[in-house]
C-alpha cells in the first residue's frame, strides 16, 4: 500500500499533462465549426481532418452525436469534489466526461439508440459504460396524442435534468444542484434496465407528458455501496424490481413547465463474507416536484424533493431505520446575449428532515460524526460563454455551508473522524465542453 500523498505527487504531472492535452483538443474543435468565422486562424490540418470526417455521409435515418467535457475544481479545507480538489493539492483537473451516441430511425415508429459514456470524477470514475441502449416503439401516433414503449437500458426520468445529467450543454451550471442531483448515488440515479411506457396528449391548454417504468436499478461498482454504508463493504448489492415515473405539463410551448416524478428503488445486500452486516434491504423513494418559467432572456427553475429511505434487516450492528430527507433549490438564469449567460442558485439538502442540522445524529457518536455532514446549503453563481454552437466555457463559484453531498470515497476521513472536514467551504470550478 503506497500512501495517498505519494500517489498524488506522482500523478500530478500526469494530470497537468492531461489538462494541457485535453484543452488543446477541446480548443481545436470549434475551429471545425462552420459557424466560426475565424476558423482560418486555427491549424489547417484539423480543419482538413474535420472535412474528411463530415465527408463520411451517413444514411438519413442514422445520427451520431457526442460530447467531451474537461473541468477543473479547486476547493477549500479538506473537502474534495471529483478527485483531490482541495487547495493543498492545487485543485483537481480530474473531472472529465466523454460520450458518443448513435440512433437509427428504422421506421417512423421505431427507433434504436445507444450511448457510451466515459466519466472521470475522483473515486466515482468509470472507464466506459453503456449509458443507455434502447428500442423505442411508438404504438400510436395521432394528431393530438401518442403512446409508445421503450425497452432496454433507459435513462431515469427524474426531475428536469437527470436524463442528460452528464452532458454539460444541458446543465444550467457545471455542477447540477447537488441537493437533488447529488453525484454520490449517481450510478443508481442515471439509468436502469427494464421497460417504460410513455405518452403525450396535446390540448389548447397545454401538453401533458407521462412516462412509467418497471426496472432493475444499476448497483454495480463501489460508489453506491459507499453512499449507502459510508464505505465499500465486503458483500455486494443486488438489484431488485423497482418503479419509476414522471408526469409533466407544458404550457404555451414550454413557457411554463410543471412536473412530478418519483421512484421506488429496491436494493438488496448479499453479505458474502461481511463480518458485521446481514443480508438486508434498502428502499429509496424519492419524489420530485419541478417548476420552470422560460422567458426570452431569463428562466426561473425550482425543484423540491422529498426522499424516504428505509434500511431493514442488516442485523444488530445496523438497526432498522426509516429517514426522510428533503431538498430544494431556486435557480435563475439570465441570458445577457445568446452567447453569454449567468446563473445564480440557492440549493439546500437535509439528510433527515427530523434532524435538519444533524445534532441528534452526531450526538450518537461525537468522535466520529460531524453534524454538518447531514446538511448542505449551497449558494452558487456562475457564468457561461457559448463560444460557438458546439463549444462552451463556464466558470462558477459555490459557497457551501455543510458537507452532506461530499462523496465518501473522495473524502475518506469523513466517516471515521469528526472535525476532518470544513463546515463552511468554497468550491471554484471551470469547464470547457464540446459537442456535435
Amino acid at each position: 500500500m503506497y500512501s495517498k500523498s505519494n500517489n498524488r505527487v506522482s500523478h500530478r504531472h500526469i494530470r497537468m499533462a492531461r489538462v494541457i492535452a485535453m484543452s488543446a483538443i477541446l480548443w481545436s474543435f470549434p475551429a471545425q465549426s462552420q459557424a466560426l468565422p475565424d476558423s482560418q486562424k486555427l491549424p489547417s490540418f484539423l480543419s482538413a481532418t474535420f472535412a474528411r470526417m463530415s465527408a463520411l455521409k451517413l444514411p438519413d435515418a442514422v445520427q451520431v452525436h457526442g460530447f467531451a467535457t474537461q473541468g477543473y475544481m479547486n476547493s477549500t479545507g479538506n473537502n474534495n469534489v471529483f478527485g483531490y480538489s482541495n487547495r493543498h493539492d492545487d485543485g483537481s483537473a480530474g473531472f472529465r466526461e466523454v460520450g458518443l451516441n448513435a440512433s437509427v430511425q428504422l421506421r417512423p415508429n421505431l427507433l434504436i439508440s445507444a450511448q457510451g459514456l466515459h466519466r472521470h470524477a475522483g473515486q466515482g470514475s468509470q472507464d466506459v459504460r453503456l449509458d443507455y441502449g434502447l428500442v423505442d416503439y411508438k404504438a400510436y401516433s395521432g394528431e393530438n396524442s401518442q403512446f409508445g414503449i421503450r425497452l432496454g437500458r433507459i435513462k431515469n426520468p427524474i426531475g428536469f435534468y437527470n436524463e442528460t445529467r452528464d452532458v454539460a450543454f444541458t446543465r444550467p451550471s457545471i455542477m447540477l444542484p447537488q441537493s437533488i442531483y447529488f453525484d454520490r448515488t449517481r450510478n443508481l440515479a442515471m439509468a436502469a434496465d427494464g421497460g417504460h411506457v410513455y405518452g403525450e396528449t396535446r390540448t389548447s391548454k397545454g401538453d401533458f407528458f407521462y412516462q412509467f417504468g418497471v426496472v432493475m436499478p444499476y448497483v454495480s461498482g463501489t460508489t453506491t455501496e459507499a453512499a449507502i454504508f459510508g464505505v465499500d463493504r465486503p458483500g455486494h448489492l443486488t438489484s431488485e424490481v423497482s418503479y419509476i415515473g414522471r408526469g409533466m405539463y407544458e404550457y404555451d410551448g414550454g413557457r411554463v413547465r410543471l412536473g412530478v416524478s418519483g421512484a421506488q428503488t429496491n436494493i438488496g445486500y448479499n453479505r458474502g463474507a461481511d463480518p458485521a452486516l446481514l443480508s438486508g434491504q434498502v428502499q429509496l423513494t424519492p419524489i420530485v416536484f419541478s417548476a420552470q418559467y422560460n422567458a426570452e432572456r431569463w428562466s426561473l427553475t425550482s425543484e423540491y424533493a422529498i426522499r424516504h429511505t428505509v434500511v431493514n434487516n442488516f442485523g444488530p450492528f445496523s438497526p432498522n431505520t426509516a429517514t426522510t430527507g428533503e431538498s430544494y433549490y431556486f435557480q435563475g438564469i439570465y441570458r445577457f446575449t445568446p452567447r453569454w449567460e449567468g446563473v445564480i442558485r440557492y440549493d439546500a439538502l437535509y439528510s433527515n428532515r427530523d434532524d435538519r442540522h444533524g445534532s441528534a445524529w452526531a450526538a450518537a457518536s461525537p468522535a466520529t460524526r460531524d453534524p454538518h455532514s447531514r446538511f448542505a446549503k449551497d449558494l452558487t453563481s456562475g457564468v457561461r460563454w457559448n463560444v460557438t454552437p458546439s463549444f462552451m466555457l463556464a466558470a462558477e463559484h459555490h459557497y457551501v455551508n455543510g458537507t452532506a453531498w461530499l462523496a465518501p470515497l473522495d473524502n475518506p476521513g469523513a466517516s471515521t473522524l469528526a472535525g476532518h472536514h470544513s463546515q463552511h467551504w468554497h468550491l471554484f470550478a471551470v469547464q470547457g465542453s464540446f459537442r456535435f
Binding site: D60, L111, K138, E143, N144, R202, G253, R255, N294, Y328
Partner: protein, 154 residues
C-alpha cells in the same frame, strides 16, 4: 412542541414562496405576434395542407414522426441564431430558439429521439425541402416556388 410549531411555520413560508413564484409565472404575458414574411413549407408529396399549432410544435419538437397519411416526416431547420429561425420559433411554435435546442438535446442525449437536420441557408432549405419526400421547413415568401407546398397553420 415548540420545534414542531417552528417547523410548521418554516414549511408554511416555503410553500408561500413557491406559490408566489408559480403565480408570477402564470400571470406573465404572451409573445407578441409580428407580421410574417415567411411560410411553413413541405415537400410536394405531402398531402397535408393545414395543421394545428399543437401538431406543428410536436413535429418541430421532434416528437411526431409521421404525417396524418402515415408518411415519414423529415424536419429541416436553420441555425439557432438565424433571424428567420428565431421568428419562426417565436411566432409559429410559441417558443424561443434556446428552448427548442434544449428539447432536442434532451431527446438526442437520452436516446429517445433525433435532432432535426440543420441547413445553412434559405437556398439550401429550399433545395432540401423540394428534394426530400415528407420534408418540412420554413422559408421567406419571396423564395417559395411551385416546387414546394405551403402549409397553413391553424
Amino acid at each position: 412542541m415548540i420545534t414542531a410549531t417552528k417547523k410548521m411555520a418554516r414549511n408554511g413560508c416555503r410553500l408561500v414562496l413557491l406559490m408566489v413564484l408559480l403565480l408570477g409565472m402564470l400571470s406573465a404575458t404572451g409573445i407578441a405576434r409580428a407580421h410574417e414574411h415567411y411560410e411553413v413549407v413541405t415537400n410536394a408529396n405531402v398531402t397535408t395542407r393545414s395543421l394545428s399549432s399543437n401538431s406543428l410544435r410536436a413535429i418541430f419538437g421532434m416528437r411526431q414522426q409521421t404525417w396524418p397519411d402515415g408518411g415519414a416526416i423529415k424536419v429541416f431547420v436553420l441555425a439557432d441564431d438565424a433571424p428567420l429561425h428565431n421568428s419562426f420559433c417565436k411566432e409559429k411554435l410559441g417558443a424561443f430558439p434556446y428552448q427548442m435546442r434544449q428539447a432536442w438535446d434532451r431527446l438526442v442525449f437520452s436516446g429517445t429521439g433525433q435532432a432535426p437536420t440543420k441547413v445553412s441557408s434559405s437556398e439550401e432549405m429550399f433545395d432540401r425541402v423540394a428534394s426530400t419526400p415528407g420534408a418540412i421547413g420554413y422559408l421567406e415568401k419571396t423564395k417559395i416556388s411551385e416546387r414546394i407546398n405551403v402549409l397553413q397553420v391553424k
